[in-house]
Amino acid sequence: MSQRVYITGLGMISAIGNNVPESFLSLSQSRTGIGKINHLTTRYKDEFLAGEIKLSNEALADLVKDSNPALNRNSYIAMLAAKEAVMNSGIDTNDGLRTGVISSTTVAGMSKTELYYKEMFVKDDHLNVLDTHDCGDSTERIADYLGNVDYVTTISTACSSAANAIMLGCRMIKHGQLDRVVVGGVDALSKFTFNGFNTLMILDREWCKPFDENRKGLNLGEGAAFVVIEGENALNLRKGKALAEVVGYANANDAYHQTASSPEGYGATLAIQQALAMSGLKPSQIDYINMHGTGTPNNDLSESMATKAVFGDQVPKFSSTKAFTGHTLAAAASIEAVISVLSLQNNMIFPNLNFTTPIAEMNLIPETKLVNTPLTTILSNSFGFGGNCSSLLFKKAS
């Protein structure tokens, strides 16, 4: 019936590197990208840490080789990561097959809008910000940068956005609507997001400690990651190479609270169970879970409950890689998809940094050191405001 879908290209830019090889180096050396705030203008610059991309907007503009003044940080990083994914896969968007771009973002052009919003009422210099504020802007920039794209759309489901972009991409191929698709997410750090999370009092002033009893909150990050997904027909046609197979995915809603997760992790449990059911894999066949694990008291407890509900006493090895990258919001699930594929390719579990004490009532202990172990199947979770819960299941390409 419907064809199998494979990841054939990876692209990523975040605090731990400007591309996939740099990111892999940071991950395998347990080197976090979270540190002092350098690029974001905020009065809290010296009070909080963040996972910033180490390049200024000017340096990013040089990398994309486009001096269009309408571009913003969101577009730059999206274009770079999407291009890397396409180059990595080796697909040619001019070969007549149907190519889609499905991206996702939460605040889109806000990092630029917030600089000029008040000025725009009195001066004309930056009124073009109105054209690039919305979520669709960076997606169309990617499409035009890649060329010959037949289909574009954009998703915004808060911190689970990119998981849903990946899911939609797989579905559109299975339904025969596209042959391959560049999917992922992007969020540049903005003062708006930073202050939003600060008012919710879920930012840790020190390095975040996912799944630790004494966790205080998350560190925000920024980034973009895209993967190329191809149907087996298109892949076989060009005799391309698969990096991993997407064997399961699911989207459920917690329907508990606008921002908080239910204490028992009901939506998360549904998402994990349904992704497993789709893949036909038993819980015992999962080798590793890349957790959502933001480091907030609420998320990590709720996700632990869901994990226990599904896996019982046989919880697979797991870690959250948010302490490397910070929480990159819409990009998180695609960054973690790239990390998951790197794990499969290298048979490596990247550690859950900064963990010392397990959550008392859970007693779940993540991997805290780099682990070299054969990996075949990886579950990756992403949950967001609005109760959006999504899980993805990746399998080593056979």
Binding site: R43, Y44, T105, T106, M110, T113, E114, Y117, K118, M120, F121, D124, L127, N128, L130, H133, D134, C135, G136, T139, E140, V149, D150, Y151, V152, T153, T154, I155, S156, T157, A158, N164, L168, R171, M172, H175, Q177, K191, F192, N195, G196, N198, T199, L200, N251, A252, N253, D254, A255, Y256, H257, Q258, T259, Y266, L270, G384, F385, G386, G387, N388
Partner: protein, 353 residues
């Protein structure tokens, strides 16, 4: 091929569309160069404790969803899919201005919490206690189209009843800024909008929701046969070729289409390709317009789908909607050809069921 049967609609627009009896008889013109939605008394649709905190986009969305669900008498839905170009802009702007005015101090989280684009979809899920599939599309003139494409796939994947909707709101500040940027024109210079020779649109807002069923029921009002999006087609000929192929897929030709609702925005540049297509549409089908009623916004095509459903239901094309002088003898098939900023084009085909 999978079809979707519309069993309930809810529409908040600059017109009196919330009134089930209204059929394009009295028309509200734009307020100069923009439209405001005609908002109902929300108390009928939303519990007071929820209402107090909701921004306008959320209120419009939840109320329109409520209307659609009530009309369909749907006990539950298997998926909630929303589309919005700018999301909860009022809450975003409120948080942004508070942050800028107070130098990042004394902020409260409410407007930030509600600023995320998926707030409407998640509020509906919360109210309906729906733990199932929940998606929000945010791609300009494809935001609503994507909800329909997704729903069609979900029906093939086994879902039975799906709520889809498009929501947009503007704020007084956003209107001022867009006017300053020269994006608007006064309605008097663009009457009728399909004959406009000047640049500029009339920005607007609204919410249109639909309950879709996989199978036909006695509640079915109209059927959605198919949907296709076109990104940056180069010429009107490209659009026409794709349109013929789209209709052929549904075993139709343009001559079978009784009414074609065209997304003229009043901006001579954005409308150029539709204007080139108009004589062909008028010859083969009967041309009609909808943005002179709802104004221009990312999810105006959701309003168009509401219009199409009404035309099929009433079997009549009111003069206030028509472009052509022709009167169709029957309304079996309605085609929507939308464009947004001359970049995002879409076809949606609806039929009598």
């Amino acid at each position: 091929m999978t079809k979707a049967y519309i069993s309930g609609t809810g529409c908040i627009s600059p017109q009196n569309s919330i009134d089930g009896e209204w059929f394009f008889d009295t028309i509200n013109p734009a307020k100069g160069d923009f439209f405001d939605a005609l908002e109902p008394s929300y108390k009928e649709y939303i519990a007071p404790n929820l209402l107090r905190r909701m921004g306008r986009a959320i209120k419009m969305g939840v109320a329109a969803a409520n209307l659609a669900i009530n009309q369909a008498e749907a006990k539950k839905v298997d998926a909630i899919i929303t589309g919005t170009g700018l999301g909860c802009f009022e809450d975003s702007e409120r948080f942004l201005l508070a942050m800028l005015d107070n130098d990042e101090q004394f902020l409260t989280p409410t407007s930030f919490i509600q600023s995320t684009h998926n707030t409407v979809g998640s509020q509906i899920a919360l109210i309906m206690k729906c733990h199932d599939y929940n998606f929000t599309y945010v791609h300009r003139g494809f935001s609503f189209e994507s909800t329909l494409q997704d729903a069609m796939m979900l029906f093939e994947e086994g879902k039975d009843t799906i709520l889809v909707g498009g929501i947009e709101e503007h704020t007084p500040n956003f209107v001022i800024l867009n006017r300053r940027a020269g994006k608007f024109q006064n309605q008097n210079t663009a009457i009728p909008i399909w004959k406009s020779t000047t640049e500029g649109i009339q920005m607007s807002e609204g919410a249109s929701f639909f309950v879709l069923d996989k199978i036909k029921t006695e509640k079915s009002l109209a059927r959605v046969d198919g949907i296709q999006t076109l990104y940056k087609p180069k010429t009107s000929q490209d659009i026409l070729m794709k349109l013929h192929a789209f209709l052929k897929l549904h075993e139709l030709s343009l001559a079978d289409v009784d009414v074609t609702l065209m997304g003229f925005s009043g901006d001579v540049v954005f409308d150029e390709k539709l204007k080139e297509l108009l004589p062909i549409i008028e010859k083969e089908s009967t041309a009609a317009s909808f943005k002179h009623l709802c104004g221009e916004y990312h999810t105006a095509s959701a309003f168009a789908m509401w219009v199409a459903t009404k035309l099929i239901e009433k079997q009549k094309l009111p003069k206030t909607v028509a472009i052509s002088d022709k009167t169709p003898s029957k309304i079996k098939h309605v085609l929507i050809i939308n464009q947004y900023l001359g970049i995002n084009y879409s076809f949606t085909l609806l039929s009598q069921c």
